[in-house]
Symmetry: C2
Subunit: 340 residues, 2 copies
DNA sequence: AAAATTCACGAAATCGGTTTCGTGTTGACA
DNA sequence: TGTCAACACGAAACCGATTTCGTGAATTTT
């Protein structure tokens, strides 16, 4: 890289001190107009840009927010990033993005790297493996170092920090209730393993809705998907039973369910209703289009970053973690159109 | 944030100089074993982490790569990011991600912010608006400052730097040839406005394939989509004509075409074949699934970072821009299954 | 026993800025 | 003419590390 022009260069060239240059560039009243003009002209001519590292070292602020996501090729997470970036930028922050790839080890490493002062705070959604392990030491360390931290979507109670989540129980309830209202009785639930708490919460909503309709939960209709195995094959199993509705906790599961239904000769939504989660492009463009629960990832990102910046800039000694719950909406599409 | 422990703190507490501490922590031979043990024990106990800003200021290296994308809620770009992050991390770099949102102004601002020393180099895919304006001054400035820069996918010849692109002409040819081989004669092309060069290049491939089959290009069959307007309505127009094949330059256009075909009562692939671009989830999960040209975003990301890091770490005075062309593959699916 | 090494550590410069505190010069005022 | 304030600028400390060079003491060599 080309040798950058510094304040020192300017000072030497113009025969003044570095303090004068610094002040002149900030239009300080201490410096005479003549000198200011001269210095500013020189700086412009040579396209002087203050070295941000020097500033950061002095102020101990990087104006950077670290974001750690389990993955990115995923409609929900990429939407969240958009929300984060938008607000962060508006407030003068940049974002450093890392991915845990659902791996505990990578999450620990990334957290360590980012917490050495490269960022002012962190926004994280916990990796699957970490949730499974239930080992949150790396997060607890972060909290005890008092590095501002906001968790979103995949959060746990053990970590004392600000959180942004969707109303998963309510969303699960809404989705299931919608199917019940459509006259469906034998509703399959395609969910995640229990350690993924969002899945568990959505299941609670599902069970609540069933109970309200005096339907007994049939564990044969509930299937927990192992992501490492063939997803479609796992979902096919639940179709061996007599079902008339499917509630899938994400859009990939929903799309797979739809495909299987078609292969089995079932008509959607006439013979079977399908509802998904995460309002992504698959749901929108599949045919029939899939009714989903919209998670409002964009809003989540915005809220998370606002919480974080609030925490960064207003260092209150009284630490009371906040939890923001984003309500979710039913996005009605063809896959649950009541035939009546 | 909690007061961080510095080398100075350790020095004072242990009654030695900061240089001794620094050397002891790096296990220098200059320091006696006793002193080293004492200092290292203290550092571990209080969880000392060197301030990365101080290091960066000293070495003038941030070990951060800036990435500017037009958008992120998009299969191709999120895949590229994955590729970038993977290689960058492996080589000890982190990535700072920004979005231009296809806006010229935001691109200029972002470029300015990132080029003040916060990153060692940049990977960029140019915003649509910038391509339209043909105003690349901000990039030329970057180049003249000799800040390492790699452009990918949306690149222009005016900017002298390393580039990674897909073989767009070849890909367009492959896609069109595939339709022709399927016996299609009246193939519509759904592309972007001319200023988006990838669209133009793919069109060249399309025209080349037609010419080879002695088919005259019919401009009525070519439609350039304005993203600001209703996409579906624009595509519907081309369906007013008698067509038996559609080549869409991205998967959203392809998905829309499929939907319209169905609405018109056309059977895919019996009555009409459809082929898209970008091997995303929509193509995979729509029904029938859509044949596409796979762009290998992951590979592009990897290659781009490797070029960039090479440029960052081996400052050669002889600057010869490299251009890597990634070949694309046809991913055969149901939407072009030949009925024969 | 004197000279030469080795050892173990500290002082100070450096990276590129900001900021506090002085200080010499000028002008105004009594 | 002496005093005092305003003005315009510089010296130096500071942020948190690294690194070069120097130095006193201990040890080895001759």
């Amino acid at each position: 890289m080309k040798q950058k022009i510094t304040i020192k260069t300017i000072a030497k060239e113009l025969g003044v001190s570095t303090s004068t240059v610094s002040k002149a560039l900030k239009d300080s009243h201490e410096i005479s107009k003549d000198t200011k003009d001269k210095i500013q002209a020189y700086a412009n001519l040579y396209n002087y840009k203050p070295n941000s590292l020097a500033l950061q070292l002095r102020t101990q602020k990087t104006k950077v927010i670290g974001v750690i996501l389990p993955k990115i090729v995923h409609h929900f997470f990429s939407t969240v990033i958009m929300g984060i970036e938008e607000v962060a930028n508006k407030k003068g922050y940049n974002i450093m993005v890392c991915f845990s790839n659902e791996s505990y080890k990578k999450e620990v490493e990334t957290l360590k790297v980012l917490s050495n002062g490269s960022v002012d705070g962190l926004i994280v959604s916990i990796a699957n493996e970490t949730l499974k392990n239930k080992d949150f030491k790396h997060f607890l360390d972060l909290v005890s170092e008092e590095i501002p931290l906001v968790l979103f979507d995949r959060v746990v109670d053990e970590i004392l920090c600000d959180k942004v989540v969707v109303d998963d129980v309510g969303a699960g309830y809404k989705a299931s209730k919608h199917l019940l209202d459509n006259g469906r009785k034998k509703i399959a639930l395609i969910t995640t393993p229990k350690h993924v708490n969002v899945g568990t919460l959505r299941r609670q909503g599902y069970e609540k809705a069933l109970i309200e309709s005096y339907i007994k939960t049939d564990t044969n209709l509930i299937i927990e998907i192992e992501e490492d195995l063939d997803i479609k094959k796992q979902i096919e199993k639940v179709f061996e039973q007599d079902i008339d509705g499917v509630f899938a906790v994400n859009e990939i599961y929903a799309a797979n369910a739809m495909r299987i239904a078609k292969e089995k000769g079932l008509k959607v939504p006439d013979d079977i209703s399908i509802i998904g989660f995460t309002d992504g492009l698959i749901s929108e463009y599949s045919s029939p289009s899939i009714t989903t629960i919209a998670q409002h990832g964009f809003t989540m990102g915005q809220q998370a970053v606002e919480l974080l910046i609030e925490r960064i800039e207003n260092e209150t000694d009284t630490f009371k973690p906040k939890k923001i719950v984003i309500s979710s909406d039913l996005k009605l599409r063809e896959s649950t159109k009541s035939s009546s």
